[in-house]
Symmetry: C2
Subunit: 144 residues, 2 copies
DNA sequence: TATCAGATTAGATATAATCTAATTTTTCAT
DNA sequence: ATGAAAAATTAGATTATATCTAATCTGATA
């Protein structure tokens, strides 16, 4: 996704393309490691222009509201984010806590009986286990 | 699950059945609203015996490690917990943030091609939308 | 009973997120 | 261009959540 496309997607969502907001969005688009707000703040300030912590949080909030960014559901203290590009699932490593993307495939919806009067919008599938780096350290005779 | 069964499940996991630890476990078993640590702390102290905040957090950590309790994956600030009884999925309300249980059903695993060298242990399915209470307030003409 | 590991406690500390009020930047009507 | 209004940014204070520390308590066991 090039600079112009990012600018456009922001403006289509009713958000001005400020340099700080652009930097957050661009960083998320080119890093799929699901960084925390603190990591994003550090990363966008490594380059110009400077952005404050409050602005980083404000922009993440705005981008999530606009549907361009997602706050990933995960346990743990700090929220993690990714750009909502192609649909995908997530894999969370028991060993190191890393969150990785898994290719999307369709998930069966719950029956209307168990859904009741609830209105279903979307679903999110999280896998757990050991990532490629952590798998070798894992003794398969021991349960987690 | 009666008192004796709780005591037993704790001891099978190598945890002493202290009154504070019992209270946390019993509370989670009879409330499926996925309370936060603060809510659990308040609830177990409404009755005797008193338990400190540190102990509530310590016991939640121990119970999660022992596999009796789960920290639910969800966005938002405070961690939420439930007793790992019967397997189930979760529904998180866009409106009020409540987390509700959804009857379990099997979920197709990702293909070994997209899984790579990762070791899969389990999966967790999260639905999003409007809960029964929030659904009526939702104007279906407006997107979220 | 004496010992000791496990558990609890109050309060201090750390971490993550949000708020506040001042300032800067952009937009837009004139 | 000019000035007013709106939007965005900022540093730092504040709040919320979680963990740590070091002293004390409890209960199992010898
Ligand atoms: Mn992702
Ligand atoms: Mn549950
Ligand atoms: Zn790993
Ligand atoms: Zn609701």
């Amino acid at each position: 996704m090039d600079a112009e496309a990012i600018k456009l997607s922001l403006e289509e969502s009713g958000l001005r393309c400020t340099s700080q907001r652009y930097a957050v969005m661009a960083f998320l688009l080119e890093h799929n490691q699901h960084p925390t707000a603190a990591e994003i703040f550090a990363a966008v300030n490594r380059l110009d222009p400077r952005s404050s912590r409050a602005t980083t949080y404000n922009n993440l909030r705005d981008l999530v509201q606009a549907g361009l960014v997602r706050e990933v559901a995960a346990e743990g203290r700090a929220a993690r984010f990714d750009a909502k590009g192609m649909r995908h699932h997530h894999f969370i490593c028991d060993g190191c806590g890393s969150v990785e993307d898994i290719e999307w495939y369709d998930v069966p919806k719950p029956g209307s009986r168990s859904l009741g009067k609830r209105i279903l919008r979307e679903c999110e599938l999280i896998f757990r286990g050991r990532c490629t780096r952590c798998a070798p350290r894992h003794d398969p005779r021991k349960a987690f």
